[in-house]
Amino acid sequence: MHTLSLREMTQALQKQQLSSTELTQHFLNRISNAKTLNAFITIDEQQAMAAAADADKILIRGDGKPLTGIPMAHKDIFCTQTMPTTCGSKMLADFHSPYQATIVKRLAEQGAVLLGKTNMDEFAMGSANESSYFGHVKNPWALNRTPGGSSGGSASAIAANLIPYATGSDTGGSIRQPAAFCGISGLKPTYGLASRFGMIAFASSLDQAGPMAHSAEDLAYILQAMAGFDENDSTSINKPLPDYPAALNKPLTPLRIGLPTCFFQPQVDSNIQQAITDAVKVFEQAGAEIVELNLSMQPLWVPCYYVIACAEASSNLSRFDGIRFGYRTPHADSLIELITRSRHEAFGIEVKRRILTGTYVLSSGYFDDYYVQAQKVRRMIQNELQTALAQVDVIIGPTTPTCAFKLGEKITNPTERYLADVFTVAANLAGLPALSIPVGFSAGLPIGMQLMGAHFSESRLLNLAHYYQQCTDWHQTRPNDERGFT
């Protein structure tokens, strides 16, 4: 049951070969048997079963939509009214949002059955899911390894078939990197395509919500339900949505693929390089033209990203002051102590590091050298990528330079950790859509390939990824259940 695609589940539900109640119970059972992965922060069986019963009524009436009755989970960064929203932090460990995120609302309106909230790096800051206040998440492919981050809970849960799909958020690679590490498919849409309202902000100009699932086809159905203009988000774009599922089977060619030379440097795992080369051949055999790209700005992607992301984060996280909601220290004698101690006691080390970095780069005397400079560099990065994407339909490369690393590895060296984002941050800086799909294994660990396209080219990216997944079965390869997490 859990290996069905979303389209197959929808068909089975609509033909009443399967009920949402059965499906939901099945996934709840799988979740409770896989507690060791620690993929979830909250699970609400009662709510889930009630939602499934509602969905079944809709399905029996024949009013089911593509996602009606299918179980799913939200990354715990999306505000939900019916479950706590912790953002992986002690700061919000007891926070119950009085309103729901636009994306939560939209999926609920489609009849999605919410089972729970997935684990994540604290405030989405991290690429190993080790900064969560609720403990690290394990990679179902190797339990001593990270699932990636920050949407590690969603990725791990999907890879282990605990849930057919989940939402994620991606500020610098937080959907694509865990998707790559866990062997699933994940899409970061164009900036402005999916509403940010109700998604707790990390870096507002980079944050974007997106779907995570097994295949490009699954992603197309979820994106259709999630995306679209939201008047509550000033940066959301008001334009009609294409029919993503309908675009999946469009002709592949003519197709020009850009391969940046910088994506194939010696520090990139050679098995990964080989897997990408093999994957590109699939397109080549179908008639795609390969263009070598020189992205000279690439060495500045990560430094530029960290200046801007930290600057925005330092301000976005100022509202967590212990006054109106969230954690409040019991040890304060003055206002300044209340704010300082609440933040000191409730934020983890990585969050503090980024707040400090961001505060520093915005401070008078440093602002011009860091923040202003980073904004200029960001513009140059955008221009270079847009110029490249005027020549090619898609830029392809590895999603990550290595496969999932061991839990605890590199934890003492944050700058080395930040290099896990080396290929993914560019899409955020330029607001471009990018997705990651599985393209093979290296020593038993999944390899992800990133496809990055021009603004609003989601249909095309999904079309390419779907073509690839029609030719290969990496996306259907699942970790061995017998290894102990079930």
Binding site: F78, C79, T85, C87, L92, F95, S97, P98, Y99, A101, R196, F197, G198, M199, I200, A201, A203, S204, S205, E231, N232, D233, S234, T235, A311, E312, S314, S315, L317, S318, R319, F320, D321, I323, R324, F325, G326, L335, I339, T359, L362, S363, S364, F367, Y371
Partner: protein
């Protein structure tokens, strides 16, 4: 030594929008604490601001009124600091690129007619909430009703050189904002707040001295007093060879002094940067044209217009300009009455204002309607009622009566205005008081009042006093 005072002003004008700058919550003053606070105003996790275009429209209106540049592209920035009544830990304001720049407002003082006060910039920003220190014995309460209310911060260059100029500018600005209908101007409620930047320099010195910033000035009188006090304080320091500290000082009306609340060293580094949640504010030629069409008459235009009526004194005109509601009421009545404008103004200034005062009301909520007052003044002008009766009828109208024709009829006071009727009465009275008549004729002119009184008494007030006066003078001559 001779010192020159240099003053620059920052006025925070609360814009009269229906909802807040970045949320749909209402902006009414005085509602129960936190009853006008949306999740956005409270800065809950995940919320996002959406700009209220009405505030932009009002800012443009102001810019046009002060001949300023309306910037086709401006943007919002975050001013970061921690304070309990600042829910997000930053205030959304405009810093590098305000919506309005380089305008001016003309003011008149005793020494300078038509002085141009340079308005360097005016920018949009959101207000903070309020800390309620008295609401609870142990805790400080936070009321976020005001949080997110739109403000237009209007900043002058240091181009004012006295308290008189400062007050003249503030009053003109206050009047302008009210006539533009973008700010209610209520200083007590904080809708019009003024910070004074003041420094002293030697008369011949081109360089400005160190300034202090004065706050908590919620009336024009306090502004004047605070400036006077601060001028003296700074002068004493300078003359004693000490230097003025750059600091923020709070005026306390109780002691009529200022005291330091913050020195420059303790000021926050606000870490301004463009707010990534908001798009830049774009103003098209089309937007401008639209606002231009909606521009009301400005106080200076009204003044010039009224001056063409030579019977009006400058103080009459200033009276009419003292509130937009009053001016509107005046214009409405004027369009419906054939009474001379001067008479109408006298009524508004005297009887009408007195009645409003007594009722604790303003022209915003007229006690007697435009139609009633127009009708009353028409009857008066046509001499179908006397001034005295007009006042009596007015009193009934203020007490709630609303059928003016019935009032005129029921009070039984169709004015005695046939010359014969009054002639007879006057002749009889002069005959009844021969001694007084003789004294009057001998030069005791005060006695005219006595005769007027007698006539009015006999006619039970129905006679027109003006006519009685005229006839008495004629027959006593």
């Amino acid at each position: 030594m001779s010192w020159e005072t240099v003053i620059g002003l920052e006025v925070h004008a609360q814009l009269k929008t229906k909802s807040k700058l970045f949320s749909a919550a209402p902006t009414k003053y005085g509602a129960p604490a936190n009853s006008q606070t949306s999740f956005i105003d409270a800065g809950l996790p995940g919320v996002l601001p959406v700009l209220n275009r009405e505030a932009v429209y009002m800012a443009i209106k102001f810019g046009l009124a002060v001949n300023a540049e309306i910037n086709d592209l401006s943007y919002f920035e975050r001013k970061n600091y921690f304070y309990p009544d600042l829910p997000k830990g930053y205030q959304i304001s405009q810093f590098q690129r305000p919506i309005i720049s380089n305008g001016y407002l003309e003011i008149n003082t005793t020494h300078h007619i038509g002085k141009k006060v340079i308005i360097e910039r005016a920018h949009l920003e959101e207000d903070a909430g309020k800390s309620l220190h008295e609401a609870h014995p142990v805790y400080t309460g936070i009321d976020l009703n005001r949080a997110g209310t739109p403000l237009l911060e209007i900043v002058t260059t240091p181009c004012l050189f006295s308290a008189e100029e400062t007050i003249a500018y503030l009053k003109s600005l206050h009047q302008l904002l009210r006539f533009l209908d973008i700010c209610d101007g209520n200083m007590q409620e904080g809708s019009f707040r003024c910070d004074v930047n003041i420094s002293l320099k030697r008369k011949d010195c081109p360089q400005l001295g160190t300034r202090t910033e004065l706050k908590n000035l919620n009336s024009f009188r306090f502004v004047e007093k605070a400036i006077a006090h601060e001028q003296l304080r700074q002068q004493d320091l300078l003359e004693a060879g000490q230097s003025v500290l750059q600091e923020t000082r709070l005026y306390s009306p109780a002691t009529d002094t200022t005291h330091s609340i913050r020195t420059k060293e303790c000021e926050n580094d606000y870490r301004y940067f463009p707010d990534p949640d908001l798009l830049p504010v774009k103003i098209s030629k089309n937007d401008l044209a639209q606002v231009e069409m909606d521009m009301p008459l400005l106080p200076n235009q009204i003044r010039a217009d009224l001056l063409t009526n030579h019977s009006l004194l400058p103080e009459d005109i200033e009276f009419l300009l003292s509130s937009p509601a009053l001016f509107r009421f005046f214009k409405d009545v004027q369009s419906k009455t054939h009474a001379p404008t001067k008479i109408l103004i006298n009524w508004l200034k005297g009887t009408y204002s007195a009645a409003l005062n007594e009722a604790g009301m303003t022209f915003e909520n007229p006690l007697v309607s435009v139609d009633h007052l127009a009708s009353l003044l028409n009857h008066l002008t046509d001499k179908t009622i006397s001034a005295k009766n007009a006042k009596a009828i007015f009193a009934s109208l203020t007490a709630g009566a609303d059928d003016i024709d019935a009032l005129i009829a029921s009070i039984g006071c169709q004015q005695v205005d046939t010359e014969e009727g009054i002639d007879e009465i006057i002749h009889a009275i002069i005959a009844n008081y021969p001694q007084q008549a003789a004294d009057y004729r001998a030069g005791k002119e005060k006695l005219l009042g006595f005769f007027v009184g007698q006539v009015l008494k006999q006619t039970k007030g129905k006679a027109d006093p003006e006519q009685v006066n005229h006839l008495l003078r004629k027959y006593l001559a």
